[in-house]
C-alpha cells in the first residue's frame, strides 16, 4: 500500500520535469523546483535534500531550481521532495507542513509576498 500512492506522484515527476533523463543505471540527474528566498534558505534546502542516495545538490536562489544527482535504487524524487518539505520548504510537488514552515526564520518566509519583495 505504501508504494501505491507513490505511483501517481512518480508520474507527475515524470511529466513535469523538463530535464529528466537517466544518466546511467545507477545515477539519476534531475531538477526539482523548490521555493526559497535567501542564502539561509539555500543552506537549509541543500542540507535537507542530501538524504541517503543523493550525491549532488545545488539550489539556485534566482531560478529556484534544485539540481540533483541521486541513485534511484536507494531513494526517489518524492522522498527527496518529502525531506525538503519536512525542513519547511515547498517544492513543486507538495507543500511543507505549516509547523515546519512557521519554524523557519522570518526572513525565510518565502510564501509571504512582502518578504519576497524585500529580497528582490
Amino acid at each position: 500500500m505504501k508504494t501505491l500512492y507513490k505511483i501517481p506522484l512518480f508520474l507527475i515527476g515524470l511529466l513535469a520535469f523538463s530535464t529528466f533523463h537517466a544518466q546511467a543505471q545507477t545515477e539519476t540527474d534531475t531538477t526539482l523546483i523548490v521555493n526559497g528566498v535567501c542564502h539561509m534558505c539555500k543552506m537549509t534546502i541543500e542540507n535537507a535534500a542530501e538524504i541517503k542516495g543523493v550525491s549532488q545538490v545545488e539550489w539556485d536562489v534566482d531560478s529556484k531550481v534544485l539540481a540533483l544527482v541521486y541513485n534511484p535504487e536507494i531513494t526517489s524524487l518524492e522522498a527527496i521532495s518529502q525531506a525538503i518539505n519536512n525542513s519547511g520548504y515547498d517544492t513543486e510537488i507538495d507543500t511543507a507542513p505549516e509547523e515546519a514552515y512557521q519554524s523557519l526564520h522570518k526572513c525565510c518566509h518565502y510564501r509571504d509576498p512582502e518578504v519576497v519583495k524585500e529580497h528582490q
Binding site: K2, P8, D94, T95, Y110
Partner: protein, 746 residues
Amino acid sequence: MKILRLLLITAGCPLLAWSQITGTVNGLDNGKTFPLAGANVFWDGTETGTTTDQDGKYELPKVNGHNTLTVSFVGYQTQSKIVISRKGTMDFTLKPGVELEGAEVVGKVDATKVDVTKANLSYKIDDKELRKAACCNLSESFETNASVDVSFTDAVTGTRQIEMLGLAGKYALIQRENIPFARGLNANTGLTYIPGPFVESIQLTKGLSSVLNGYESITGQINVEFYKPETAPKLYVNAFANQGSRAELNVLSALPVNDRLSTAVLAHASNIGIPQDVNNDGFADMPTGSQLNFMNRWHFENNGDGWEGQIGISAIQSRKVSGQIDYIESDAPADSLWGYESEGRRVELFGKTGYIFENHPFRSFGIIYDLSYQDHNGRFGRRFHYGEQQSAYLNTIFQDIIGTTAHEYRTGFSFQIDRVTDRLSTQNLEEPLYNMERTEAVPGAYFEYAFEPSPRFTLVAGIRSDYNSYFEELYVTPRLNVRYSVSDNTTFRLGGGRGQRTANVMIENLNLLASSRIMNFQALAILPEVAWNTGASIVQDVNIGNRKMSFTVDAFYTWFDNKVVADMDLDPNTAYLISSRGSRSLSLLAQVDYEIVKNLDIRLAYKYLDAQDQFLGGLRQSYLIPRHRAFVNLAYQTAKQWKFDATLNWFGAKRLPITESSPQQFQRESESPGFFTVNSQVNKAFKNGLEVFVGVDNLLNFRQDDPIINADNPYAPYFDTNFTWGPIFGRNIYVGLYYTLPDKKE
C-alpha cells in the same frame, strides 16, 4: 498521519489530487481563531477561484504560471501566499481589517505608513499612532502627521480647523467609514464631534481621491474607521484629565449576539468646567462646556451566502460657553458682557450592506446609506446664528474585473439630498442679516477603471456626473491617478482632476462673528466652489544596514475656479464674504522616516506652503497659513512596554489681516513671528490590559499674549479675535489611561 492523509486523497480521487491545493481559512479575532465560511480564494491574475465551505475549507486546482494564492473576506485584511506546489495544504489566518470594500487592500500595519500599492498617496494612521497624542478628539490626531496641521480659527470659539495642502479642512472630504461626515453644517464641528478613542484607524489620502466617494474632495480625503462590533474589545475604557480642567471618559463595548449578529456601544462624555484666562485679557482661553456622544452599531453576516451588513445610530450633543469670564460665571449676565454660546445636536442613522457573488471572488455589490439631522444655535455677543441640516445619502458600488485582475472597474449611482438653513440675525433687527435656506438634491453616477498590468504599475481613471438641483446644472468630474514603482524602493505617483463643493457661507465662517466686524455679502455669487488639483510624489526607500530609511517628497497645486473668500483686509470693521476666481495653493512636503537605533524612530518633515487667495484687493497670501513649517518627532519604545514620544514643531510667519487703517493701539504686524512648540508624552502598558499615560502639550509654555484686539470693549469697533496665530493657553499637563478587558481564555 501525513502519509495516511495523502494516501486517502490519492486513493479517493487521484486525478484531482494531482493538482489540488486544499486548506482552511480562519479568522483571527481577539486572539482566537475560527473558520471563515464564504471566504474568497483565488489565484491572482486568473478567474480561478472558489469560496470556503461551512468549515472554512477550500479546494482549488493549481493554475500553471500563477503562484500567488489570495484569500479575501469582507471585514478582514486580504492575505496572499506564494504557492508553487501542485498540491498540498495551505492554511490562512486572516486579521480583521478593511470594511466592505473588497478591492481596497490596505497594506501591512505600521503605525503610520504610506500605502505603496495604491494609485494615490495615502497614509494609514492606526490606534498605536493615535495614542501618541492622547487628547482628545480627531482634530488632535494629526499631531505626528506632516500632511495635516491643526490650528484654532479664532480666540473664542475653540474651533480647531485642519489645514491640508494650504487649504482649510472643508476642502478635504472627511468621512466616517466611507460615509461623508464633516460636510455642510458639520464642516465646522465635524472633527470635534469624533472622539479620538472611538477611532480604530484613519486613512489619509493626499490629492484627489476616488470618484466613488463623490466630487467633494479637493485637497484630499480623511477616512476615519471607528471600532466595530467584530473588532472592538469586549470592554475598552479611556479616561483623561488635563490642567485646563478638561475631563473625559470614553467607553466602548462589543458583544456577539449570536454567530451572525454582533453589536457594539460607543459612548463619550467630556466636560470643561472652569474657565481659564492665563493672559488676563478678560476672555476665557478656551470654551467651557460638555459633549456627549453615543453610538450603537450592529453587524450581521449570513455565514457563507455572501451577504454582510451593518447598521447603526449615533447621537451627539454639545454645549460650549465662552467669551468674557464674567459672562461665563454669571447666571444672568449683564447685556454689556460679550459672550459666546453654542449648542449643537446631531442624530444619525447609517448602514451598509454588501454582497459578494459566489464563484466570482472579484464581483461584489454594496450599498451605503445615511440619514442625519443636525442643528446649531450660536450666540456671538449680540449676533445669533441658527443652522439646521437634514441630509439623506445613498451610494451604491458594483465592482468586478474584466477578464483578469489587471482590469478592474467600479461603478454605481449616488444620491445626496441636503436641506440647509444658515441664518444670521441680531438682537436689534427683526430681519436676518443673512438667511440661506436651500434644498439641494444631487443624483449622480460614476465609473472608475483601474488598470494594473503588473504589481509595479497602477492607473486609476474615474469620471462621475452629478446633477445639482440647487444650481440647476449637470457637473462632470474627471479624475486620474497613476502609480509606477521603478523598483521596490522607488515609487512615483501623479494625479489630478476636479473637485467641487457647495459652500455654507456663514456656517463655515463663524469665527468672523467673534469680532465686531460687520458682515458684507454683496460680492457673493450663487455658485459652487470648484477647484482643480494636481500633484506628484516620490517615495524612496534606502536600506542602511538592515534598517530602512524612507523619503517622501510630494508637491500639490490647487487652483480655484470659484472660492468663497473672507476678506478682512479692506476694512478692519467689515468682513467681506466674496466669491472669487483664481485663489491657489502650492504645497511641497519633504519627509524622512528612519529607525536610528532599535526601537527609536525619528521623523523629520518640512513643508512649504504658498497659499494665496483672490481678495477684493487682488491676490494675497491666505490668512494664518505659515509659509514654512517643520517638525521632528522622536518615538522610543522599550521591551518593557514603555513608550516615549516627543515632537518639536516649528511654525514660520503667518499672514494676518491688514490693520493699517486702524487706530495705532489696534494695529498689528502684517505677519506673526515664527515660533516653536514641544509636545511630549510617556505611555506605560501593563500585562493586565491597562495602559497609563502622562504628557504635556506646549512644554516650552509658548503663548501668544494678545490674541484679541480691543478685548476691553468687545461691543466697540475694532474688537477682533481672528488674529490667533499661536497657542493661547500655555503649558498643559495631562494624564489618562486606557483599559482593555483581556479576553478570557477558553
